[in-house]
Amino acid sequence: MKPNRSLLSVSFANIAGPALLLCAICLGLIPRAGAAEAAAWSIQVEPVQAEEGQLPPDFSMAIYEDLLAQLKKGGQFQQVYRSGDHQAESAPNLLTLHMTLLNFERGSQTERAVTTVKGATKVQVHLKISARDGNVVLEKDVQGTVRLFGENLKATFALAKSIADTLRDTPLPAPGAAKASGQ
């Protein structure tokens, strides 16, 4: 018995369309939901707020710089501004990212290399992103850890990456909607 050619071509078309669409989404050719809204925002990053002596200055600056690099690399926002940048004052839809230190444990690279289970370096911050009108868009605790390989400062890179991933996975409201809800 010969297979029905027209039936085969119809079923192929039915499968191929959704499959191509799925591939395109996976490859990032089609932006996911929320990405379009995020692209309308610009973001200004403030350095980590911590009580004196709780976080070494090199870690604080490394978190700040790593986060700026991750956000720029992600391309999620129209502009990524540094703290104090006067250009941000004229940005139409500006979010401000604040970080407050929750926990910092300085480990040892040697201890990690010798024991493999001890000596982890951990940095945990409370992340708060707010719009210009004070409306809080996102609040979350994020942690960066270096457990096995790498220097202690690698924890700041892990933290910055986690924050960037959190932002990418969180659907941000449309700028107009955020303004409306803030009023």
Binding site: P47, P56, P57, D58, S60, M61, A62, Y64, E65, D66, Y81, R82, S83, G84, D85, H86, Q87, S108, Q109, T110, A113, V114, T115, T116, F149, E151, N152, L153
Partner: protein, 139 residues
Amino acid sequence: MHVLGLEGVKRNHHGTLTVQASGLNFAAKNTSGSITIASIQDVFTSQESHQTGGKVLTVAKMGVPYGGGRVLSLFSKEKIDSLTVEYRDANGALHGTIFSMPLGQADVLKKQLVDLGAHASIPPMQSRSDKKDEGGSKQ
């Protein structure tokens, strides 16, 4: 070695860090960067212990049988200094740059920067290496 944060210089680039009247200059093979004295908001120094040999030695140590690699890790560590400089650019934007260098050199560079007028919330400590090295330091 430049660790991160200097405009136009890639992360973990090796080069020479010098203090001149104009400011802090970092020069490497194909790249360079500088921070003017007037733009510096704060300078910090710290010490860090790290494993030497980089990725190559780390992988090699994993291959040593009977946990020999772990024993090697006990002896393949060294202390380094790090110099953190916070500065603002022409737009007022905050930048942070971290340099790592051999032990004892960060305080020398910090003292030189402060002598030239850079602001530091913690005054530089006098160290023995001050007398030995007055010029730039090779990282």
